[in-house]
């Protein structure tokens, strides 16, 4: 029950995503009367769920890098602040996107909890927001030109074109919904991932849903509910304004939008590109509305560039900055209230300690021993304090700072007989279980010490075998075990 209350803000955000943003995927199909609302809504709901569960992890990992909201109370507040920002700015008629609100919320949490904001992740996210509408414009320009070539070459009859358009609307709506689920589930549920209470569940023999996938499944069902219960009103009110294009024009715009959401959201595409030594697109939640605007502009340019409202572009770029700032402020204020008025834990203290064995471990990671001298025996209350100290010394590269933060973090873990007894036996292999039993009664101050002890006890806990799928699975199980034995 408590869990449901905590998740409620994320579920609300997911519901509003379904109610508002899903119209970007199937709005034109319905408003041009090409597909019935019921068909479009059911199709969208199914594919949003598939996309979220199967591909949603990538974009949420990027949000996790920006800031890892490590307490359920904090995740609840961040999602709530994002929801308030979106609702408020929509009411005021300002351009807003859930992706931008949630990023602002996470940064607000980082400020409040004393955690560091990863600026490389932030710049990656910001860069993607800028590229998103541009890429959508390029895609829709290309698709529109291809469509013209198709029309001229085939001299297709108006009625047959109509039939083809209907068919493609169904296919593109499914693809768009899948991409929306993959890309945008992180907005609603991403902040809950680090503090997720869900474990893996076996759905059918040989098919397991990880804890994160269970979380995304719940979130995407909320998106589906939003689509079915409310999106019809949104299509009726804004659908026609957004798409004063022909049915084919609308189809091209959603196809462009779906591709943009897909390339910035699909974990499998990302992996495939990396495996083929191609430059992979970053996995970042982007705004579907802005992709749509980009798509419309692409078609306008293809038609000769008349009637482009450049003011719209100005408003979009303003939203990139204002939305995160507003969400950040609201989050900070709400966190203060939730923590001090409602007495809820909104973040787990992450202190840092540099005892001798941490220094030794760091020196084994190619950090010069002399450089580590100032850190010896020091401890810090939070990441910001440590970062200030490191900046004061001014001799560490970004990579070295990252290692120092990772290895110095205090994350106490205790392996107890009681804890071992309630592990989900069928989830771990025999070797993995016996390795844990070997460690019964041991305690660790740092997470890396526990990970090292496990991989020393059995190769079954190694995450560097080179087999990516196997390593990812081991990492999932490792996260589960760490959460299981962590001293709260």
């Amino acid at each position: 029950m408590i869990l449901l209350i905590y998740l409620s803000s994320g579920l609300f955000l997911a519901w509003s995503l379904g109610a508002n943003n899903a119209a970007n995927v199937f709005g034109p199909a319905v408003s041009t009367k090409m597909v019935k609302f019921r068909t479009a809504a059911i199709l969208t709901s199914i594919f949003v769920i598939l996309g979220a569960v199967y591909e949603g992890a990538g974009a949420s990992q990027t949000l996790g890098k920006l800031g890892s909201v490590n307490a359920l109370g904090g995740a609840f507040t961040v999602a709530l602040a994002a929801a308030i920002t979106v609702a408020g700015m929509t009411k005021m008629g300002l351009p807003v996107s859930t992706s931008q609100a949630i990023v602002g919320g996470i940064i607000g949490w980082n400020f409040f909890s004393g955690s560091l904001t990863d600026f490389s992740a932030l710049s990656k996210i910001f860069g993607t927001w800028v590229i998103c509408p541009i890429l959508a414009a390029i895609f829709s320009y290309i698709f529109y030109k291809l469509y013209l070539v198709f029309i001229v070459r085939t001299r297709i009859h108006l009625l047959r074109l109509d039939a083809l358009t209907r068919f493609f609307y169904l296919a593109v709506t499914a693809f768009g919904a899948y991409s929306l689920g993959a890309n945008n589930i992180a907005n609603a549920m991403g902040v809950f991932v680090p503090a997720s209470p869900f474990h893996d569940i076996q759905v059918m023999s040989g098919f397991t849903l990880s804890g994160t996938q269970v979380l995304f499944l719940i979130g995407s069902i909320a998106i589906g509910v939003g689509v079915i219960t409310y999106s019809h009103n949104v299509i009726r009110t804004v659908g026609n304004d957004l798409f004063r294009l022909s049915s084919v024009g609308g189809l091209i715009v959603i196809l462009a939008e779906a591709w943009v959401l897909f390339i910035f959201g699909s974990q499998s595409l990302h992996d495939w590109m990396l495996a083929h030594n191609l430059p992979a697109f970053p996995l970042v939640p982007v705004s579907s509305s802005q992709a749509v605007v980009g798509g419309v502009i692409g078609i306008a340019i293809a038609k000769g560039g008349r009637n482009i409202q450049f003011r719209v572009l100005g408003r979009i770029s303003m939203g990139w900055v204002t939305t995160p700032i507003i969400a950040c402020l609201i989050t900070f204020i709400l966190l203060f209230f939730v923590q001090n008025v409602f007495d809820q834990k909104v973040h787990n203290e992450s202190s840092y300690d540099f005892s001798r064995n941490v220094i030794t471990e760091l020196s084994e990671h190619d950090i010069d021993f002399d450089k580590l001298e100032p850190l010896k025996g020091t401890s810090f209350k939070n990441a910001r304090e440590l970062n200030n100290f490191l900046s004061g010394v001014d001799q560490y590269s970004m990579e070295e700072k990252g290692l120092i933060l990772a290895y110095g973090a205090v994350d106490p873990i205790e392996v107890t007989t009681q804890g071992i007894r309630i592990i989900q036996n069928d989830y771990l292999s025999k070797q993995q279980l016996s390795a844990i039993e070997e460690l019964d009664g041991t305690t660790y101050k740092h997470r890396w010490q526990f990970v090292q002890a496990l991989s020393d006890a059995s190769d079954a806990w190694r995450t560097d075998t080179g087999n990516k799928q196997k390593d990812d699975e081991t990492q999932e199980r490792l996260n589960y075990i760490i959460n299981h034995f962590r001293i709260q």
Binding site: I151, H157, L158, D162, R166, F167
Partner: protein
């Protein structure tokens, strides 16, 4: 399933346009036979046009029913229906004109005969160009304006011939009542091309709408 239905309606539209086009060709032939006082051949053409007009009406109604019943081409349905109805008006007008000839039986003096035939040919050609334009509206929207250009050309030609004919009629020595009767029939024949022109104006707007 959807494609099968689509093909059926496409065929119906093609049949409808064939009927109208045939009506245009028969019109000029019927006028020629009338002017040449070949009543038998004239009546045969007139009856055929009458038959075609009924077929066109039926086809148009069937197409309209299909388009509405299956909510096909929702965006251009209104325009398509208007095109079909206006095109149908042309064959109605052809039928009506031939009927007037049959009922009133105007006596055409020999000196005006060739001009009536010329006028009927120009009107018939404007109908033919229009039907080709309508076909292109469905398949090759970019070429519609080439055919509309021909409609305007034939209509202008018909205007000139009609004016020349009317001047010749009123400059002749025949009775005023006869003159009026002949003018009235010149107008009837000319009207067919006027209908085609009005329809061409609308079609050019529908074409622009389709391209947006």
């Amino acid at each position: 399933m959807l494609l099968r239905r689509t093909k059926r309606i496409e065929r119906m539209i093609d049949d409808f346009l064939d009927v109208v086009s045939e009506g245009g060709i028969l019109f000029s032939k019927a006028i020629r036979f009338y002017v040449e006082e070949n009543t038998e051949e004239f009546d045969a053409r007139r009856l055929k046009v009458s038959e075609l007009e009924s077929t066109a009406d039926q086809l148009r109604r069937d197409i309209e029913m299909e388009l509405y019943a299956h909510t096909l081409i929702p965006e251009s349905r209104g325009d398509v229906l208007a095109i079909l109805e206006n095109t149908d008006d042309i064959i109605d007008n052809i039928k009506e004109t031939l009927l007037q000839f049959s009922v009133e039986h105007p006596k055409i003096p020999h000196e005006f005969a060739s001009q009536y035939i010329e006028l009927a040919i120009a009107s018939g050609e404007s109908v033919d160009a229009l039907v080709t334009g309508v076909r292109c509206f469905f398949r090759d929207v970019k070429t519609v304006k080439d055919h509309l250009h021909k409609v305007y050309l034939h209509e202008k030609e018909a205007d000139k011939i009609a004016e020349r004919l009317k001047r010749a009629i009123f400059n002749s020595d025949i009775e005023l009542a006869w003159k009026n009767h002949l003018r009235y029939f010149a107008l009837h024949v000319e009207h067919v091309s006027d209908y085609a022109e009005t329809m061409a104006d609308r079609l050019s707007i529908y074409t622009i709408k389709r391209q947006v």
